[in-house]
């Protein structure tokens, strides 16, 4: 559905390359995550794909057509969830949705959309009276209000409390079930792990690695077991794979009183640091 090949971009002709030749493919019905710390080029990549930025090098195709060749009809096919709220502050949530929907051929019922994210009681409230989180939820539903095939979501859960974050993630998973293709950018590893079929680690405009979260964990994960006993102050770490043959471990659990015992799986956060040498946040 989306093919990006050796994509490069600079904001000014003399300026540095912000995107330094990235390559990835998103199949129909997949959720693809671009992960990286702030400033790594996630939003820039998205903006190139939905044509808010022009003048890229390399290739970026949506539905087998080069992005630069797409006209305005592209926007019937795609939906964009912006990183920051952008609404008419003097219009109500419902008026905002209806206004933007009036430019599309087909649309979801706006009240249903508001209800999905718990804004049905605030439908007639002016957006200027909304909190940042409410504005972001409105941003999110507007992205797929015209039922697009492809969705671009820039940090869809940022600034949301756990409850609302959960609601958003469930909706995203439902959209996937409906066969939508989704590109998400985030610096929340937990979200990426839960939502994405594929993740790409972006660091200073380069993709350092690209795989499914499961494979990344298999490849980079050092799965261990931490045992804390009565007589030791610090937990002792054992390799999970070789546990059954580890005499020291077997001895420990037979002789000592165990306080806690935890298996430690590598998470994407650790793997990101290992691969890029950079922290995510």
């Amino acid at each position: 559905m989306i093919q990006v090949n050796n994509l490069k971009f600079r904001y000014t002709s003399e300026g540095p390359e912000t995107i330094k030749g990235i390559t990835f493919t998103i199949e129909k019905g997949q959720i693809f995550g671009l992960l990286g710390p702030s400033g790594s080029g996630k939003s820039t990549t998205q903006k190139i794909l939905y044509k808010l930025l022009s003048g890229y090098e390399g290739s970026a195709k949506i539905k087998n057509k080069e992005v630069s060749d797409w006209g305005k009809e592209l926007y019937e096919q795609i939906g964009v969830g912006f990183e920051l709220p952008n609404h008419y502050l003097k219009l109500s949530a419902l008026e905002n949705l209806k206004f933007f929907q009036s430019f599309y051929g087909k649309n979801h019922d706006p009240m249903k959309l508001l209800k999905m994210v718990g804004l049905e009681m605030d439908a007639d409230k002016k957006v200027s009276e909304f909190s940042k989180g409410m504005k972001m939820r409105l941003n999110f539903v507007r992205a797929f209000a015209h039922d697009p095939e492809v969705l671009f979501l820039d940090e869809p859960t940022s600034g949301l409390d756990p409850t609302n974050s959960r609601i958003i993630k469930d909706i995203i998973l439902n959209l996937k079930k409906e066969g939508k293709t989704i590109l998400i950018t985030t610096h929340h590893m937990e979200d990426a792990e839960e939502l994405c079929d594929q993740v790409a680690f972006l660091s200073t405009g380069e993709i350092k690695t690209l795989d499914s979260p499961q494979n990344l964990k298999l490849e980079y994960g050092k799965n261990t077991v931490e045992v804390l006993t009565q007589s030791n102050l610090e937990p002792i770490t054992f390799d999970l794979k070789t546990l059954k043959d580890n005499d020291k471990f077997l001895d420990l659990i037979q002789t000592e009183e165990i306080k806690t015992i935890h298996s430690k799986e590598a998470n994407l956060n650790d793997i990101f640091i290992e691969v890029t040498g950079q922290k995510l946040k």
């Binding site: 912006f82 952008n86 008419y88 008026e95 430019f103």
Partner: protein, 238 residues
């Protein structure tokens, strides 16, 4: 048509919910009545003003016409501020459609108000046909002022300053009626010079159509250049 109706509906909502914009919407109506009833009284008190009827009408009409330029420019400044411009850019309509709609919106309102100012107040009525042509020229000042503010002002405070500055510039050619004809030509670099000349000549029953044509072409060229600038500086940005 559905899109156009929605654009007009939401623009009117945005204007009516903003005290400043609403007052600028009402101001032309107030001005029309003030000039209609005050001008005869003034002329009676200060008879010399009789010689300046056309100048008064020119001034009154330009003040009426620019209000809608101000209103649309502030609608666009809000869209810049609130980042709605980004959303508009990813709608399946061309940016030209959106820009032209806004400019037409300003022109239609502004021409209508100018027409009433010219005819209804009866300060200096050049006849219906001339008044209609004059209204077009006055109407075109609205998109001009709107584009200048929307393109170059960074925020509303700057927008207000630009508005006052451009208003002054547009009135400046009124001075051409007080100076010799050679110096008066200096003002021809401002588009309203041609509007005022057309007004003066048509009111006095002299041949005047050339002034209208030059004025219209001047405004249209100026607006075209400004649209390109606006697209580059405002729409071209992320």
């Amino acid at each position: 048509m559905k899109k156009l109706a929605k654009l007009i509906e939401s623009d009117l909502k945005l204007i009516f919910r903003d005290k400043t914009l609403l007052s600028f919407l009402v101001l032309p109506i107030v001005l029309i009545f003030v000039f209609k009833f005050l001008t005869p009284i003034l002329i009676e008190k200060i008879p010399i003003l009789e010689d300046y009827r056309t100048l008064i009408a020119m001034f009154a009409s330009i003040q009426t016409a620019i209000m809608f330029g101000f209103i649309t420019s502030f609608l666009i400044l809000d869209e810049k501020d609130e980042n709605v411009m980004q959303v508009i850019r990813i709608l399946p309509i061309s940016s030209s459609y959106f820009i032209l709609y806004r400019l037409l919106f300003a022109t239609v309102f502004s021409s209508t108000a100018a027409f009433f100012m010219i005819t209804y107040t009866d300060i200096a009525n050049p006849g219906t046909v001339n008044a209609l042509l004059l209204s077009i020229l006055y109407g075109l000042t609205a998109p001009t002022i709107s584009l200048i503010i929307a393109t170059y002002a960074k925020n509303k405070v700057e927008g207000m300053a630009y508005f006052k500055g451009v208003d002054l510039l547009l009135m400046l050619p009124l001075a051409s009626f007080f100076v010799g004809s050679s110096i008066s030509l200096v003002f021809s670099i401002l588009p309203t010079y041609w509007t005022f000349k057309f007004y003066d000549h048509s009111f006095n029953g002299e041949s005047s159509l050339n002034y209208f044509i030059i004025g219209a072409l001047f405004f249209i060229s100026l607006i075209s250049i400004l649209i390109i600038q606006f697209k580059k500086r405002v729409f071209g940005r992320s």
